[in-house]
């Protein structure tokens, strides 16, 4: 028998207009943590979905425990003790944790020997045991929608363990977790490896790989670049291989050159649906050529400030002035035309219409104007030409160019498209909310570069980010928000990371 528990040989997989995996060969050893690293859209999920039986490769073969296998459904993969935690969880929200875990392999008992029923009690017992054995705390009687994502993820892991999986695939498991939860998950993975499981980790976060992985395969645009032993390499080397060029972790920033005041926010108070003031009497202003960053722990009112300025929610009181003009009661379209661009936090819900084509999404804020329409009739050529220009200038990658359905694009490229659209509006005020969340380093670098470029062009930039590093490296002025109040507004160079952290926690004031 070969030294590998899983071997994939010359795997090629095509989707319309794109080769998602191009002649990839890898071997994974029993009992190791094997990582797949690659930018969004590099083909990681596709490759592992084939090992899990969700797609079949167009070319190449898969060997499990030395034997050639044909995996045409996840059932067959499960029978080979392969389990997968998907990027988007597959849980029934209103079922209990136990019901979710047993779904598909329900234990059956019989009343009086002939009326069969699903044995939830017995399953709960078995789940409690498993959960103890691996340190995965859950209460099997809880309903899934009442627990947080970290616990939902534990449910997904328990689902695999309940099916006695030996090869566990995790598809970007940390994307949805907080730093503490990530820590916990990585510990669990090490624990699983120590108990003899083979773990495949898909991610684009270098620190995670550095911390727990034994080996790492790097994919770029569907091709295998290299397989590395993690303890013989550096984060910089992995980053460069993944992106295909030298990566700069710290953006270079030219000295600031402030102009006149562009945005003024006065006494802004925003009330949420529960009649609770989430933003309280906030005052600040942004000048041309300035990046004003609001730092803070998630849920302290920063998103509501951005939404109020963009017109998505109505402030309780206060005024918002753009170029001296009061826009507090204006419609969103008027604000856009007055010179405001908005990159929202929830890009899939507010940023694009997923089932529209890329070109439609790129034109969506201006479709009613020339060259997109004439006398109320859409001009398709205008859409296409404009889209192709942006695709080229902003390196937006997609399967079928301007006509690609936005849903099929990777998150990073969706975000690039939104940023491209908003910048192309040539607005004086740019609002970026969590612009790099969930993106890989290549895309992060790209977006941050654009933010700085806009500032250098003399735009006023409002940046709202939960990543302290991002705030520190981009901001000219930092406002720290805690509990709906701006605790501190100060030029960036007068604050250290630690000080900002303390204001964010409300310990300093």
């Amino acid at each position: 028998m070969s030294e590998y528990i899983v071997e994939m040989r010359h795997i090629t997989k095509r989707f319309p207009g794109i080769v998602a995996n191009d002649d990839i060969s890898i071997g994974i050893k029993k009992g190791e943590i094997f990582a797949f690293l690659g930018e969004n859209g590099a083909g990681k999920s596709t490759l592992m979905s084939m090992l899990f039986g969700m797609y079949e490769p167009d070319e190449g073969e898969i060997l499990v425990r030395g034997e050639k296998v044909k995996l045409s459904s996840s059932n067959e993969a499960a029978a080979l003790n392969i389990g997968m935690v998907h990027q988007h969880f597959k849980l029934v929200d209103n079922y209990t944790i136990a019901e979710n875990i047993i779904l598909g392999i329900e234990p059956i008992k019989k009343i009086g020997g002939f009326i069969p029923y699903v044995d939830c009690k017995g399953a709960q017992e078995k789940i409690r045991e498993l959960s103890k054995a691996y340190g995965l705390e859950v209460d099997p009687c809880q309903i899934v929608e009442t627990v947080n994502v970290s616990i939902q993820q534990r449910v997904e892991i328990l689902k695999m363990l309940y099916r006695e999986a030996e090869i566990l695939i995790f598809d970007e498991p940390t994307a949805v977790l907080t730093p503490q939860e990530i820590q916990y998950l990585l510990d669990i993975m090490e624990e699983l490896r120590n108990k003899g499981k083979t773990i495949i980790l898909i991610t684009h976060k270098l620190e995670e790989i550095k911390r727990i992985a034994d080996r790492c395969a790097i994919l770029r645009r569907g091709k295998l670049v290299k397989v590395l032993n993690v303890n013989e390499t550096t984060t910089q080397e992995m980053a460069n291989l993944m992106v295909g060029r030298e990566v700069v972790f710290e953006q270079e920033k030219s000295p600031a050159n402030f102009g006149e005041v562009l945005l003024e926010v006065e006494d802004l108070t925003v009330r949420n649906e529960d009649k609770f003031d989430v933003v309280k009497n906030v005052n600040f202003s942004i000048r041309r050529g300035e990046i004003f960053a609001i730092a803070g722990v998630s849920g302290n009112g920063q998103i509501e400030i951005a939404d109020a300025i963009a017109g998505l929610i109505k402030p309780q009181k206060g005024a918002i002035k753009l170029k001296g003009k009061d826009i507090t009661d204006e419609s969103i379209r008027r604000r856009t035309e007055d010179g405001m661009s908005y990159i929202p936090e929830d890009r899939q819900r507010l940023g694009v219409i997923l089932d529209f084509s890329l070109e439609d999404n790129l034109a969506i804020k201006r479709y009613y104007r020339e060259p997109f329409s004439q006398k109320g009739i859409l001009k398709r050529e205008g859409f296409q030409k404009f889209a192709e220009e942006l695709i080229d200038r902003y390196d937006i990658r997609s399967g079928q160019g301007a006509k690609t359905t936005t849903r099929s694009m990777s998150g990073g490229n969706q975000q690039k498209a939104i940023v491209a659209r908003e910048i192309s509006l040539e607005s004086d005020l740019m609002i970026f909310v969590q612009p790099t969340r969930g993106l890989d380093i290549g895309a992060i670098e790209n977006i941050q570069k654009h933010i700085l470029r806009e500032r250098d062009k003399g735009k006023a930039v409002l940046l709202i980010s939960l990543e302290l590093d991002e705030v520190m490296s981009l901001a000219d002025t930092i406002g720290v928000i805690y509990n709906g109040e701006l605790q501190k507004i100060s030029p960036a160079e007068e604050l250290t990371t630690n000080q900002v952290g303390e204001y964010m926690m409300g310990v300093k004031s």
């Binding site: 029934v92 929200d93 079922y95 019901e99 598909g104 392999i105 329900e106 069969p116 029923y117 699903v118």
Partner: protein, 319 residues
């Protein structure tokens, strides 16, 4: 009083069994507007079988009623295959498919009834005269004051429906099949990832729905009206959809709603008889329970939770 109880129950139970069918389909993720057509087609097949069987068994055979039930269920479930094929296999719009099934049922059964009548009697009538099934009274229970009426003059159908309803509840909540079926309606991807067959589960759910609707339909034809004719399409199916929505897609609550519909109707009817109103006004007042229902729906529907994935076309590769 007794009449109110007897009529109320015999109106409520066919609604209830159809509503359970709707619950099965919708909780498996398939919008079910076809109850009206399915009950009609089931009633047609049941009635036709009765007419034909009478030649061999005679007019008063006690088996006729059971033959009718089985035939009605088979008819309903066979006809529901159209909806299942359209929705599950060809991934058509479920609302449209439901409307198609309803329209088709009306046209097809009316046509076939005339043709068959033509062959048998030489007269192209659009009615099957099947008469009203025999009734019975449960001895001791029927002596209870007020509620005793529930057990008087019962149709055999009523017992069958209650037993089947109980079994449906057990199947939906206690068995492997039920667990998977409900998962389909909430998040079909969960079942798919767990190795279940979403399409098959939905297909079976729709066929069960067809069988239950067919049973409801033949009940109405064989007990309440005594004939099969196009009047069978007077909205019972839609009413049971209202009942299941009001019942929050849950069997016990839907039962309560159906009883409410049934008794509200028979109470109003008896009242109007007492008052001796002309019949065009009676019809007007008979809508009172439904108006009331509409109002209640407005107030309660906030707390209602339809299955999350109902109406969504299941696509394995969608992310």
């Amino acid at each position: 009083m007794d009449t109110i109880m007897i009529d109320g129950l015999s109106f409520a139970l066919p609604l209830f069994i159809m509503a359970i069918g709707g619950i099965y389909s919708e909780r498996s993720g398939i919008v079910m507007l076809a109850l009206e057509g399915l009950q009609g087609f089931g009633a047609f097949v049941g009635a036709m079988t009765v007419i034909l069987s009478r030649f061999y068994l005679g007019n008063s055979s006690p088996y006729l009623i059971y033959i009718a039930m089985v035939a009605g269920m088979i008819g309903g479930s066979l006809f529901s295959i159209i909806h299942a094929l359209l929705c599950v296999k060809f991934k058509a719009r479920q609302v449209i498919s439901g409307v198609v099934v309803n329209t088709l049922a009306v046209a097809l059964t009316t046509f076939l009834t005339s043709v068959i009548n033509g062959i048998i009697t030489g007269e192209a009538s659009n009615k099957f005269q099947i008469g009203v099934s025999s009734r019975f009274t449960v001895p001791v229970l029927s002596e209870i004051p007020i509620f005793g009426g529930l057990f008087k003059n019962m149709y055999p159908f009523e017992i069958v429906i209650l037993v089947i309803a109980l079994y449906c509840w057990y199947l939906l909540y206690k068995t492997k099949f039920g667990l998977r079926l409900r998962a389909c309606g909430e998040n079909p991807h969960s079942l798919d990832a767990a190795g279940g067959d979403v399409g098959k589960t939905q297909f079976i759910a729709i066929m069960i729905c067809g069988a239950l609707s067919g049973l409801g339909g033949i009940f109405i034809a064989y007990s309440v009206s005594g004939i099969f004719s196009p009047t069978i399409y007077m909205g019972y199916g839609y009413l049971s959809i209202a009942a299941l929505i009001f019942g929050n897609w849950k069997i016990p609550r839907t039962f309560a709603v159906c009883l409410f519909f049934g008794f509200a109707r028979s109470v109003v009817y008896q009242l109007l008889l007492k008052l001796g109103m002309p019949s065009n006004y009676t019809d007007l007042f008979l809508i009172l329970p439904y108006v009331l229902t509409l109002l209640l729906l407005i107030f309660f529907s906030k707390h209602n939770h339809p299955p999350r994935a109902v109406g969504e076309i299941f696509d394995k590769s969608k992310r």
